[in-house]
């Protein structure tokens, strides 16, 4: 179908003409198809919202499945012989790690963390790591921090092992790679939130479900980077190793794995960050720890408590990211380590000091964080928030107030977009999705996008999904305007970029969940704060990709335009932006994916729509509702990703030539 349109345009009319031609051809074809199909659909099911006749009610079968699982959890062989063991193993290992951390006491953990950071990343990060843990204690969050750390440790270990095995399979076997790659790519664009319910259904609420959801979410980057790293091994080196007569195992152990070490460490870093993010979100299905404190505090709009639990999350994220990132960078560096403490000796010193510290605290009877060292920030934060509610929510002269802004945004942006979308005939939504996806990508992506959108309709959550979609669209629009503007500014001014970089670094490492805290403090609850959190979450990635894209524009092209006397604005508009188009498209794609991920979490703070259904399903034990919403979120994610996923033109035409 695509071949017919693509092969017609004459090649000698230039790329621009060809492009326009192809786009027009696609649209024409789609218009013809629509002209034939739409009247039929209209006559049969009428327009307006998704017709009831085309929905499948899954509530009952899903409810039956839920009941069956709950009834059989203690008796059926599947649970008693397999899942039960998995579940027990997880509970035991998390408890084991937790007990070790508690036994080490605050002194042991704080000093031990510092020493580990010292060994892998240097003195500066060691101080940072120790300080971060001390602050967790000061905020009165020692025990939840240790719970989260125990969860993370088990989840990260499992993710790394599973990711490594999958990555080895994909890195060494072409067929495995072909199967794995699209699956992993797709898993990366799905919102974390959608992973929660299936595991809660099978394992029940609690630590095992949370850990498994975390592993499923965090293992893909490890697998992906391992496979890519192993495949990317320098062919010349591998050939040289073969030419010396190495066996397959020698090739893997002495060459391929060491060559991929940097990617492996990057994989560990990403896995840790994603595991932290998920371990916090998984508090919704009973993970406990810091995330649970935030969740409880947010549900009562207790900003002070939420902040007290949120700060340790941010600190953990920053420390873990910096330490693992620095370890990765050290691998590539050639610095000679000649200190007397290098290698195993340094590690044994670190271990010995940690043990001494832990024992000292034990003999001083100070294993637990001393209660008189706790600074309770919640009341003062809440006082500040009350003041904000009184003074800047409404009635500030000229600019209005934050609550006013939120209300206005809801009334003038979110509502019209939602009503507009819901008012469109259902088939026209499908047509728009098809047209967008096809124009930007290939007919395969268009087909996937339409199928995903259709599935949403069939599941009977059409209107709710369009509500979520409206929030996503509004969020993406705001993100892009702010992100492109900031990105362009950063690409033009070195100083601005230097100021921005550390801010972006911190923002990009923070788990999605914590973004809800400040927006609730500022805007209260509702759909607007959910969108605001999504914008803040997606902004750093968009800014960074835009800046890099603009910076990487061919210097020769820039120079030649300057030599022709172009002004800065002309340069930006006529050279930089067109040449950076792929980067801008990537920024759009990432923006859409990230905004969706947080908009659905916004269900926790009154975002409504699909996100709320998931929370409601979990809270009420109505897993059918939750699961349907979860699947709809997955479909929405797929659709949005495919619609914004450009395929390079060359690949495209090569495929057609075959």
């Amino acid at each position: 179908m695509a071949t017919a349109t693509a092969s017609t345009p004459a090649r000698d009319t230039g790329i621009g003409a060809l492009l326009r031609h192809r786009a027009v051809g696609k649209l024409l074809l789609l218009a013809v198809a629509a002209a034939v199909v739409v009247p039929i659909l209209n006559a049969k099911w009428a327009s307006g919202a998704w017709p009831d006749a085309l929905t499948v009610d899954l509530t009952e079968p899903l409810g039956r499945t839920t009941d069956w699982i709950i009834d059989n959890r203690d008796s059926h062989w599947l649970f008693t012989y397999f899942l039960g063991h998995v579940s027990n193993a997880i509970v035991l290992s998390v408890r084991g790690v937790y007990l070790v951390l508690l036994a080490a006491g605050w002194a042991g953990v704080t000093i031990g963390a510092g020493l580990i950071a010292w060994r892998v990343a240097g003195v500066k990060l060691a101080v940072m790591a120790s300080t971060a843990f001390a602050v967790c204690g000061l905020l009165g969050m020692w025990v939840p921090t240790m719970q989260t750390l125990a969860l993370m440790t088990v989840a990260v270990l499992a993710s790394v092992v599973i990711g490594l095995l999958l990555g080895l399979a994909g890195g060494l076997n072409d067929r495995a790679f072909r199967i794995l790659r699209p699956v992993l790519d797709t898993m990366q664009v799905l919102p974390a939130y959608a992973y929660l319910l299936p595991f809660a259904l099978v394992f029940g609420m609690g630590v095992p479900a949370a850990i498994i959801a975390t592993v499923v979410y965090a293992a893909p980057p490890m697998a992906r980077l391992t496979a890519l790293g192993l495949r990317g091994a320098d062919g010349g080196v591998m050939e040289a190793v073969t030419s010396l007569g190495a066996t397959g195992r020698q090739r893997l152990l002495s060459a391929r794995l060491p060559l991929a070490l940097k990617e492996l460490l990057l994989g560990v870093n990403q896995t840790i960050m994603m595991a932290l993010s998920m371990a916090v979100i998984a508090s919704v299905i009973g993970a406990g720890g810091l995330g649970d404190r935030v969740y409880q505090a947010l549900s009562t709009v207790d900003v002070g408590q939420a902040l007290a639990a949120g700060i340790p999350i941010v600190l953990l994220a920053v420390v873990l990211d910096r330490v693992t990132g620095a370890a990765g960078e050290r691998v590539g560096a050639h610095a000679e380590d000649n200190s007397p403490l290098r290698g195993p000796r340094g590690w044994s010193v670190a271990a010995a000091v940690t043990v001494v510290a832990a024992l000292a605290a034990r003999f001083a009877d100070r294993v637990d964080w001393p209660t008189d060292w706790v600074v309770n920030i919640a009341p003062s934060v809440n006082t500040a928030k009350e003041w904000m509610v009184d003074h800047i929510y409404t009635g500030v002269p000229v600019v209005g107030g934050t609550a006013d802004w939120a209300a206005n945004f809801t009334e003038w942006v979110l509502n019209p977009v939602r009503d507009g979308l819901q008012g469109l005939p259902w088939w026209s939504v499908l047509l728009i999705v098809a047209a967008l996806a096809w124009l930007i990508g290939t007919w395969q992506t268009a087909l996937t996008a339409v199928a995903a959108m259709g599935a949403i309709g069939v599941l009977g959550v059409w209107n709710k999904s369009l509500d979520t979609l409206a929030q996503v669209l509004a969020g993406v629009a705001v993100t892009l305007v702010l992100g492109f503007a900031t990105g362009i500014a950063a690409s033009r001014s070195k100083r601005f970029e230097r100021l921005l970089r550390p801010v972006l670094d911190v923002f990009q490492t923070m788990p999605q969940f914590v973004y809800l805290i400040p927006v609730v403090a500022l805007f209260g609850i509702g759909r607007a704060p959910a969108v605001a959190a999504a914008v803040v979450y997606a902004l750093p990635a968009v800014v960074r990709i835009t800046t890099q894209g603009l910076r990487q524009v061919d210097a020769a092209a820039m120079e030649s335009s300057r030599s022709l006397g172009a002004t800065g604005w002309q340069q930006l508009r006529q050279v930089q932006l067109p040449l950076a188009r792929p980067a801008l498209m990537l920024a759009l794609n990432q923006g859409v994916v990230l905004v969706l991920a947080v908009v659905v979490i916004g269900g926790l703070v009154g975002g409504g729509a699909l996100g709320y259904d998931v929370v409601f399903g979990i809270a009420q034990g109505d897993l059918a509702t939750g699961l349907v919403a979860g699947v709809a979120i997955v479909c929405l994610g797929l659709m949005l990703d495919r619609v914004t996923q450009p395929t390079t033109r060359r690949e495209h035409s090569a495929k057609k030539g075959a």
Binding site: V237, A240, L244, T247
Partner: protein, 382 residues
């Protein structure tokens, strides 16, 4: 340059002293075809007659090596030379089956390489033929010493022993004092010395070089070429050397196989290639060569005339034309060419000028098979 040529002459004399040894590598009718159902191509006389573009059009296959035959004698430096895409790198990889040949036969010391099982093939790669690569192929995470010892490590040699051996080889290639560096900290020339040391450390029977110096600066390249000449002079190891650089080929090679589009167009000594090019392609190729540095006085010689047997300046038959020009210019008379006590002939102004001008046809005095048969049929040297 002249020093290098003299060296290669010396070694070729060494080989002629031990004529009983069979060839190290014997390659016969070797084909390597890339593409779908490649194995049908070599046997199909209709397809083999096509030129590369037609073949790709008809079958989607590319024949990188087409019906190549040659032998590498013990102790010689055998150069395979050709432009990029001529199939020379594929050819050298076929020798140890880093690339699996499509058809033909390869023997090393009489043993069929294509019939080897995996263990035997590993044995071949570990002990008998090691390779030096254009882009070095060093392991970036290991020190120079550990890179050099890598081949021994693979063979299971103990740590102390392999380090001692590696240290010795590191000294031999002039990298003393850099043992603990990482490859990334070395210059290109130093990295290639590591590559060379790694190949030498396993003490192989044959060294294979795949354009080893193409990535290096001209000055460093010359140093490295002299390094190879020196190593060859000291150890007399058999070498197969791939290059796209004609001057490098003439400088290093005892014999040169010139490849084009996967075929060997001409195979012979540097003098034969320059003196009697087999076809226009080769002639075009060698046009800019300083012929006087490559051709021997044999090619400029004429029979002894009346009254010319008087004593005076004399030259060996392998002396280069450059030397003869100098001798003739100095004496002002024709100079005799003496093989021991026997006078083979004389060279004079006219003969020498004819060589330099390229108008001399290689006379019957040129030893060995001067010409290959029609291009396309690789020649087997007995």
């Amino acid at each position: 340059m002249s020093e290098a040529v003299v060296t290669s002459k010396d070694t070729s004399e060494d080989t002629s002293e031990a004529p009983g040894d069979g060839p190290v590598f014997a390659v016969e009718n070797l084909w390597k075809v890339f593409g779908p159902r490649a194995e049908r191509i070599p046997g199909d006389s209709e397809l083999t007659a096509l030129d590369p573009a037609e073949l790709r059009e008809r079958t989607g296959c590319t024949a990188a090596v087409r019906d190549v035959s040659f032998e590498v004698k013990k102790g010689e430096v055998f150069v395979v030379m050709g432009l990029s895409g001529s199939g020379k790198s594929t050819l050298v990889r076929c020798l140890t089956r880093l690339i699996e040949p499509t058809s033909g036969s390869i023997r090393i010391d009489g043993e069929d390489v294509l019939a080897m099982d995996r263990a035997r093939l590993r044995e071949l790669r570990r002990h008998r033929a090691s390779m030096v690569f254009q882009h070095f192929g060093l392991l970036p995470h290991r020190s120079v010493l550990d890179n050099v010892a890598y081949g021994l490590e693979i063979q299971g040699v103990g740590r102390a022993e392999r380090r001692a051996k590696a240290l010795e080889v590191v000294k031999k290639v002039g990298l003393e004092g850099l043992e603990q560096r990482k490859p990334g900290q070395l210059s290109g020339g130093q990295q290639q010395r590591v590559g060379l040391a790694r190949a030498l450390a396993v003490d192989p029977e044959v060294l294979l070089f795949d354009e080893p110096f193409s990535a290096l600066d001209p000055l460093i390249r010359r140093d490295m070429q002299e390094e190879v000449v020196r190593l060859h002079r000291e150890e007399g190891r058999t070498m197969v050397f791939i290059t796209h650089d004609l001057s490098e080929a003439l400088k290093l090679g005892d014999r040169i196989a010139l490849m084009r589009d996967g075929r060997v167009v001409q195979l012979g000594t540097p003098e034969e290639i320059v003196g009697s090019p087999a076809d226009d392609y080769v002639r075009d190729f060698v046009r800019d060569v300083a012929r006087a540095d490559v051709m021997s006085v044999r090619s400029a010689m004429r029979p002894v005339g009346e009254g010319e047997e008087t004593p005076g300046a004399a030259l060996a038959p392998d002396a280069k034309v450059t030397e003869a020009i100098e001798a003739v210019a100095r004496s002002g008379f024709p100079v005799r060419v003496m093989d021991g006590k026997r006078c083979l002939g004389v060279v004079d102004h006219a003969g020498l000028l004819a060589v330099v001008a390229g108008t001399a046809t290689a006379g019957p005095a040129t030893p060995g098979p001067a010409r290959t048969p029609a291009p396309g049929k690789g020649e087997v040297v007995a």
